[in-house]
């Protein structure tokens, strides 16, 4: 009787482990249209309204916890932000001067470089689900193909790029954040050289991205500096075809160590958006804009 019970327990355990391994292998090797992927999409589709309801009901709990978290975070940032304001005020004066000059020159060559976010037909969506694991940096939003959302469209939130659409259902979409290991972005440092590289996440660190494959810099030559803004490049960089429109802020250079820059051609960037506290995002459904961006006179 005892042996029978032990045998049954071991057989059950072995069967469950085998089932998991078979699922893992089949899913990992399967295409996005495979039956397992289809079933998964179906389950998310069915559960999406429930999660939306739960998200609404539990929003006060989230808000209270978020308030405490944000307050602690804000207190630690006061001094740092004051210094930043001083620096940005000086930069703003320079930028305004450059903008006036740019407008005059643009008028002369009929180059329309004034696309704003509205031109990309943004669709606003609520975040209804966030993955708890450190390995899958993705969120679920409450808008889908019925709202014009398509695969690979860029997503912004908190005033900066947050990711791209990786899965679309009729009433939901999954967004892979820029800190997910499968996402990379062609990005440009807004310095005097306009250096372009590929932005990849540092897995395990949600507050850090690496801007790699920057142009080679020789010692003594000015390169990217700490605090400089990093934006989407909007065009092909190395092996990467950019999915993102040009000029969307991503973050700021947080570490531009000269040795790292010279030897590895990379700098560290901290994302501008707080990716763990996203409540609302915007999907750019026309990422290439509507306006004619350049005209040859």
């Amino acid at each position: 009787m005892h042996n029978k019970h032990v045998r049954r327990r071991r057989v059950t355990l072995a069967a469950l482990v085998c089932a998991s391994l078979i699922l893992l292998t089949a899913y990992f090797g399967g295409s996005p249209s495979s039956p397992l992927h289809t079933i998964q999409r179906g389950v998310v589709q069915v559960l999406s309204p429930i999660q939306q309801g739960a998200s609404t009901v539990l929003s006060p709990v989230r808000d209270v916890a978020g308030w405490f978290s944000d307050t602690l975070h804000a207190r630690s940032q006061v001094t740092q932000l004051r210094k930043k304001v001083e620096r940005l005020t000086a930069e703003l004066a320079q930028a305004q001067e450059a903008e006036i000059l740019n407008r005059q020159l643009s008028r002369e060559v009929h180059l329309d470089a004034t696309l704003n976010i509205d031109a990309y037909q943004p669709v606003t969506a609520d975040v209804i689900n966030q993955d708890p694991t450190l390995w899958y940096q993705q969120i679920e939003i409450d808008k889908g193909s019925g709202n014009g959302i398509r695969l690979d469209q860029p997503v912004i939130g908190d005033g900066a790029l947050v990711g791209r659409v990786s899965l679309v259902g009729s009433s939901f979409a999954i967004v892979q954040l820029i800190t997910d290991h499968s996402v990379d972005v062609a990005a440009q440092v807004q310095d005097q050289n306009g250096d372009v590289g590929i932005l990849v996440p540092a897995v395990g660190d949600p507050n850090e991205l690496l801007l790699q494959d920057l142009p080679h810099i020789v010692p003594g030559q000015p390169g990217p500096q700490v605090g400089q803004l990093v934006v989407t490049a909007g065009y092909k960089s190395g092996p990467l075809q950019s999915l993102y429109p040009r000029g969307i802020p991503i973050g700021q250079v947080s570490n531009a160590n000269q040795n790292n820059l010279i030897n590895n051609n990379e700098v560290t960037v901290s994302p501008a958006a707080n990716l763990r506290h996203l409540a609302v995002v915007q999907v750019l459904t026309a990422p290439h804009g509507q306006a004619v961006r350049a005209q040859v006179p």
Partner: protein, 201 residues
């Protein structure tokens, strides 16, 4: 409704509710940059309360649900949760731990297994980006946060499963205490037989 059906229904409802609460609220509340992960704690608690078979089966089902809802690679979380549910159940069956802090240690161990196991499987499956050493720090903080939550989660799970559990360890101990022994076999009169002075009378 018999006890087994009642237990199955309660486990399904519990797993489903935890996934929804995790997705809609807990994942979006961060402490030191990480959020708590309730499911390993629930699987561990069910294993400790119901045993290895139930723990492993719930681990498989709950892992599959998590993989489905969070659009992860199917089978990864199931594999880890099977181990957590099975081994916490085996600890109950082999040692029948009585200490009130056992769920605390179990919660820490279950979370550590989930975190380290997930990292290993992801690295084996291939990661396209550089892995930061801060990952270790994040995993450690997650273990700490989950350890703090282990006792309340265990208490809630025990309350939810309630009378459906055939042999709740705490109920069994309480009954043993009030009846004066761990089991009839261990009562002195039955273990030692008739006392000598009664035979001489």
């Amino acid at each position: 409704m018999n006890q087994r059906a009642s237990l199955v229904i309660r486990l399904v409802v519990l797993a489903f509710a935890v996934v929804v609460i995790q997705a809609a609220a807990v994942s979006q509340i961060t402490l030191f940059g990480v959020s708590a992960d309730l499911m390993p704690l629930v699987v561990m608690s069910v294993g400790l309360i119901c045993g290895s078979m139930t723990g492993a089966l719930l681990g498989f089902g709950a892992g599959l649900l998590v993989d489905m809802v969070f659009v992860q690679t199917l089978g990864v979380t199931s594999l880890l949760y099977i181990l957590i549910g099975y081994w916490s159940g085996r600890i109950r069956e082999l040692y029948d731990p009585a200490h009130a802090l056992v769920p605390l240690a179990g919660g820490a161990a279950a979370t550590a297994v989930a975190q380290v196991g997930m990292a290993l499987i992801q690295i084996l499956l291939g990661v396209d980006a550089p892995v930061s050493l801060l990952l270790l720090q994040q995993m450690f903080i997650t273990v700490l946060i989950n350890t703090l939550l282990a006792l309340p989660v265990y208490a809630i799970v025990r309350r939810v499963l309630g009378a459906s559990v055939p042999q709740d360890p705490r109920r069994r101990r309480r009954r043993a205490y009030t009846t004066g022994g761990l089991s009839p076999l261990q009562r002195s009169t039955e273990r030692l037989g008739t006392l000598p002075h009664s035979t001489t009378r």
